[in-house]
């Protein structure tokens, strides 16, 4: 099942994600301009730039310490809705991995805990046109892959693929949460920026934790 992933592997994921979000900042902001307030790319870029600064100056002993620090950094640096949502995701994701061996199953349980944090904070339902529309199918695909004997990389790849489908499925939806919901019917026909950044996060994980 491949070698056990280390704290360096997870740090590399965060670094890769920072580069990805920086490259996609203008794109995410453009998506947000259509149905939101034109700051999603800028905010995510600022948050992950801060995470990289923390990685550069801190040595982490464990994966959970690393992920919790990433979560706290997002809460402290991002603001908006994406700060508390992604911040809470990483906090819970990290907390769930405390003392655990990194296995496809433990990462799956941690993903579930992280997504649970997003549910608590944002109270989204499937089809509200939010990041949850990418997270929910991703978790289902991940669990399915693990049940089928997949290793971590394979399960993450399945999750990323499902997230991308969920992201694309947000296009025709009418938003029921967040600023896009103010638009009513006019929010239909636009891809959700949060579901887009969630897909980038999972694609990066699949690349770096394979």
């Amino acid at each position: 099942m491949g070698e056990q992933k280390t704290v360096e592997d997870f740090a590399n994921w965060l670094r890769d994600l920072a580069v990805t979000l920086h490259e996609n900042a203008a794109y995410l902001t453009e998506l947000d301009s259509a149905i939101g307030d034109a700051d999603h790319g800028t905010n995510m870029d600022r948050g992950f730039t801060a995470i990289v600064a923390v990685l550069d100056e801190t040595t982490f002993e464990s994966v959970d310490e690393l992920l919790k620090k990433a979560g706290m950094t997002l809460v402290s640096k991002v603001g908006g809705a994406s700060g508390p949502l992604y911040g809470t995701f990483f906090l819970r994701f990290g907390t769930a991995l405390a003392g655990a061996e990194i296995t496809p199953a433990s990462v799956g349980a941690a993903l579930k805990a992280g997504i649970g944090g997003i549910l608590t904070r944002g109270k989204p339902e499937l089809g509200d046109k939010t990041m949850y529309d990418a997270w929910a199918p991703a978790l289902e695909a991940y669990d399915g892959a693990v049940a089928g004997g997949s290793d971590l990389g394979g399960a993450l790849a399945a999750a990323a693929e499902a997230a991308a489908k969920g992201r694309d499925a947000t296009i025709p939806l009418v938003a029921r949460k967040g600023r896009a919901s103010y638009l009513g019917e006019r929010s239909a026909g636009h891809q959700d920026p949060g579901a887009t950044s969630t897909t980038l996060l999972l694609e990066s994980a699949a690349r770096t934790l394979a």
């Binding site: 307030d37 603001g79 700060g83 600023r179």
Partner: protein, 337 residues
């Protein structure tokens, strides 16, 4: 892509440099914690007084930093342009202005603002000490308050609430009473806005939406987000009716009611047009038999350089009129008793 024509140096430095200018311009009213981006009332904390904190994304000036001072806020947390501040800021401000009487958080109903203030309240509870209550403003009738939206946005009533609650806090009233008053003010206020142009978030570099020369957006918020409806441009009297009718019909405000009427500019509309619009609004209210006890006309809760306006009505009684008339001395709003 359009060319961004703004008086800025670097888009990343807009908020911090504006805060420096604000502090330099109003040394008698405020001091600024630049690291945490918090505007404090110069003499905060005031012994025995409930601390009033608000905050939100920048780009709405003078709200909120311009409403810090005697008779209004004790602290305002500034986020990036149109982005909620973070819990660390609210925590720092809460600790700083707590004079033993507790702290009220005044939060506009936006997903991000509510989440960040909630996290700050949770962290404050965990660290123990300060008693914190909060009020969430949600007065924008352009948004249906239903399970299918994030709820109504907090807009113009926030300005009126900060003034009125500020006066009550100045009288030394206890926290629960202040929070109840804030809730009552929010419940009796309604707003509706419109835009003639979009606005450009400095970090985005181009207008958030495009409007043709003969179009307007009705039902906008304060973040350059598109509104509910795009309509052909119309004369001021028709626009006034488009704003006043849904506001009056929503509470509803009835014949014989007394209100504070607030004609707010979105940042890019000159005062002459706001007064012209206020004249139209006033005639509609007169016709509806609604008495205007006090009025406020000007750019107070803005959306960068957006042209347009919003109308806010707040139903008032004698107590609220008295609180409105109480002295206020902030960078953005000042009068003597």
């Amino acid at each position: 892509m359009g060319f961004m024509k703004k008086l800025i140096n670097d888009p990343a430095d807009v908020v911090s440099e504006a805060l420096r200018g604000m502090e330099a311009a109003h040394p008698d009213h405020i001091r600024v914690d630049h690291e945490n981006r918090i505007v404090y009332r110069k003499d905060a904390p005031k012994a025995g007084k409930v601390g009033l904190i608000s905050g939100g994304g920048s780009g709405h000036e003078p709200m909120h930093g311009g409403f810090v001072g005697l008779g209004m806020l004790d602290a305002a947390c500034a986020g990036e342009v149109f982005t909620s501040p973070v819990p660390d800021q609210m925590m720092a401000a809460t600790k700083e202005v707590d004079a033993g009487a507790g702290v009220l958080h005044i939060v506009k109903n936006y997903t991000g603002d509510v989440m960040n203030f909630e996290m700050a309240a949770e962290l404050a509870a965990a660290e123990a000490g300060t008693e914190v209550l909060s009020v969430v403003t949600d007065d924008d009738v352009a948004v249906q308050d239903s399970l299918y939206t994030a709820g109504r946005r907090g807009v113009g009533v926030t300005v009126l609430l900060e003034k009125l609650v500020g006066a009550a806090a100045e009288e030394g009233r206890p926290l629960q009473e202040i929070a109840d008053l804030a809730k009552r003010i929010n419940d009796n206020g309604r707003s509706m806005g419109m835009a003639l142009t979009s606005c450009t978030v400095p970090a985005a570099g181009k207008p958030t939406f495009e409007l043709a020369e003969n179009e307007m957006e009705v039902g906008i918020g304060i973040h350059g987000e598109p509104g509910r409806q795009r309509l052909p441009l119309a004369p001021a009297k028709d626009i006034a009716a488009l704003l006043v009718d849904p506001v009056v019909g929503d509470l509803p405000y009835q014949q014989g009611d007394t209100v504070i009427a607030f004609m707010n500019g979105m940042g890019g509309t000159p005062l002459i047009e706001l007064y012209l619009m206020y004249n139209e609004v006033r005639q509609l209210l007169d016709r509806a038999g609604i008495t205007v006890a006090r009025s406020l006309v000007g750019n107070y809760i803005t959306s960068l350089e957006m042209a347009g306006c919003s109308v806010t009505l707040l139903k008032v009684d004698d107590e609220l009129v008295r609180l409105w008339d109480a002295p206020v001395n902030t960078p953005g709003l000042r009068w003597r008793a």
